[in-house]
Symmetry: C2
Subunit: 83 residues, 2 copies
Amino acid sequence: MRRVTVHITLKEGVLDPQGKAIQESLNSLGYEAVEEVRVGKYMELMVEETADMEQRVKEMCDKLLANPVIEDYRFDVEEAEVL
Amino acid sequence: MRRVTVHITLKEGVLDPQGKAIQESLNSLGYEAVEEVRVGKYMELMVEETADMEQRVKEMCDKLLANPVIEDYRFDVEEAEVL
């Protein structure tokens, strides 16, 4: 079993109103040092290991997990401890 | 300027219906090797450096970014390249 961690972020130049709202909230709470916030998604997938796993994960990101028009993604595959 | 990356994940044992829906969608698309999906948030904050920055980021997570009742968080501080 492998743990695949996926980071999905908005492409540079794509507006992030959610991040902007968080930044303004932080500023108004007194955290003026925060100058920008960008919000993305983080997923952990437990995947049974196969030879073509990396290719399959890439497909999953392209087809379902991310929107390639406005989002970038990256993923890492790690050994998952079996409990 | 520092880039602070924040990962917010559901605590173990907290149900994740969004992750479950993604897992079932992946399975029905033919990715049967995916056995579990957990969804979290990922944020990048650009923060002006101060001496107590780590403490301030911890406060921001506790007060606004995460819900400590059901979520865990972790963060890393890196040097941000100035463009």
